[in-house]
Symmetry: C2
Subunit: 352 residues, 2 copies
DNA sequence: AAAAACGATGAAAGCGCTTACATCCGACCG
DNA sequence: CGGTCGGATGTAAGCGCTTTCATCGTTTTT
């Protein structure tokens, strides 16, 4: 049942190299403390014995696990994959390993996963977004586990955040559509409980429109339950079925959904962007290649992953830690958005 | 620098519950050994003290890390994400945590990552595909680390494999095209060093064609270097530029590439499937929604992740372990493939 | 030349758990 | 009623490292 023990231990190496175990340990952790001579004997002994140190013992004795945890909603979303990919690569350069857990559905299970990780001794926990059950943060506080939040630049200043401003990006996107003369908007949003990033994107749109005296009629607002292509198709169909008039611009909370909307539009014979402008959020691999190419916000996944890693390494190894400012999430204008056809309904006066 | 110590230890719980430390440990690991009374006192004490056991100490004392490692080429590919997602969810139900490392590029670095994991005491390593540096397997052997290989059903019987037969699936796909009357084939392949799965897919196509006396002319075989959409576009462009005649069917080694090919075809005014049939491999989220929907092989990512988890749990917890047989990777016929136009060049006689 | 300082090393005490092994106690047996 | 058994518990010896502190030559200082 139990894995048979590998018998080589640090003590064996010490014996072989004719030094004390303390010296072997020093060779590994602070080589300069040891004389050239002893050091090379130790290295040779390690080689010869093919010794691999026991991480658990190391962690126990040093109170350092050299492990970082990440709690992610899902790995089905390419952007998260890219982020983690970058994060892991960077961390590994500092000899830190990544403990991964996925959980979107239940906040309680999320706390449980976090507890498991604390038990594992993670030295830092990476979280996506700010909205997590208080119990989760309490846990981290109680055990003094540093945390870093990513994929958002953070609304409240309670935690270190490394990411971009979902709200601002959303505002920018909306302004783009407004500047093209659009006055009638639709939206397809995937709203998962406690997904603050999406909420901010939605809020960004609505607030910006409200300033222009525009609201999205309920019938033109489709709430869907998955983040994938199908939802975009469903969403658009629902919006078109709801009323006889149709929005001239459609904003989707991510690119998968926007892709679905573009696809469905073509299916229904609606010309994009002539009859309907469509915009997304994320800039997926595919987005530039759609027909028409999708106007969207480019989310800096890789950059976030790398920045998070740098932050963690600085914090853990050098004690100092500085979150970089909010990152750029630029608007990428492509051909899925275009000027609105000349207004058919009387222009409302500007609000405010 | 070092994280301040959380002072609650098992001994504190023992004291509070008025039992020995052994009893506390037993409550956690084998509750039935302990009387109802003592047990509940211990549980209460744990509650009150908010004790979280120290995983490193646990691992050291028990020689069990309850940790599983996975080495993955990249997280940028949705299918890998889905696989890991499923794997992690299942493992966590058995209180096993997942250590993740990504590395595609360098085989040496892969071995290094594996070494790190062995140091961490992983009880099993999950690998994608069979082709890895011998040093990697030597390492696992030396430390008696069980392994399971996935994303392939395995050619050599040296390791437990849980996956599907890339070669067979590829044959099936090719036969489909042949049965539609195609005789002139092109291929876009992304060939990464030591990617056995892709090699098998390619071999499956070529062998099947050869049996019909067909070979893919070098000019119609585009080797690309990324697995993403852009490569598909580039690949198709290259193929079309190379000769004046054009294949009637195009096989791509994955769906991202096939997607790119479809997109580029439309761009160039080539009708799919009338002028060119295109097939992929993977069945991405998008594939069913492309225009036209993509004929492909459905890769059972989620199923593989779950099956791998089950296998590991059985092996680790119950000692017995049985790999399920090869999994289904069905051909999904959609509209991107159709009957070849009536042959324009004289039909070759059947080979062999 | 004695004192002080330093660099290299070793001895040994943990780190916080698990797990033989020993012990105790009441139930059950002949 | 003494002896045996078995369940519940405690004692204490590790698990394989790190790290403090002491030790011991060697330099450097005064």
């Amino acid at each position: 049942m139990t894995r048979p023990h590998k018998p080589v231990r640090l003590a064996d190496v010490a014996r072989r190299a004719r030094v004390s175990s303390a010296t072997v340990s020093r060779v590994l952790n602070d080589p300069l403390l040891v004389s050239e001579q002893a050091r090379s004997r130790v290295f040779r002994a390690i080689e010869e014995l093919k010794w691999i140190p026991n991480g658990a013992a190391k962690a126990l004795a040093s109170a350092r696990s050299r492990t970082v945890g990440i709690l992610i909603p899902t790995l089905g979303h390419q952007n998260f994959g890219v982020l983690i990919d970058a994060l892991q690569r960077e961390l590994s350069r500092a000899h830190l390993t990544l403990l991964l857990a996925c959980d979107e559905a239940s906040p309680e299970r999320r706390v449980q996963q976090a507890r498991k990780m604390v038990e594992r001794g993670i030295e830092c926990l990476v979280l996506i977004g700010e909205s997590h059950p208080p119990a989760l943060f309490d846990l981290l506080d109680a055990y003094r586990v540093p945390r870093v939040i990513t994929y958002t630049s953070g609304r409240d200043r309670r935690h270190p955040c490394i990411g971009f401003d979902n709200h601002a990006a959303s505002v920018q996107l909306t302004r783009h559509l407004l500047s093209l003369g659009h006055r009638s908007f639709g939206m397809i949003a995937h709203l998962v409980e406690g997904n603050d990033r999406i909420q901010q994107r939605i809020a960004g749109v609505q607030e910006t429109l409200r300033k222009e005296g525009i609201t999205i009629p309920p019938a033109h607002y489709a709430q869907v339950d998955s983040r994938y292509v199908t939802s975009g198709r469903d969403g658009l169909r629902r919006i078109l079925a709801a009323r006889k008039d149709r929005p001239s611009a459609l904003i989707c909370t991510n690119d998968y959904i926007a892709t679905g909307a573009i696809i469905e539009a073509r299916h229904l014979g609606i010309a994009v962007p002539q009859d309907l402008s469509i915009a997304g959020f994320d800039d997926t691999d595919m987005s530039a290649h759609l027909n028409p190419p999708l106007t969207t916000i480019r989310v800096p996944s890789r950059e976030m992953g790398e920045a998070v890693a740098r932050y963690i390494i600085d914090y853990l190894e050098h004690g100092k830690a500085q979150t970089p400012g909010p990152m750029e999430a630029p608007l990428i204008v492509r051909e899925s958005t275009a000027a609105a056809k000349k207004t058919t309904s009387p222009r409302r006066s500007r609000g405010r």
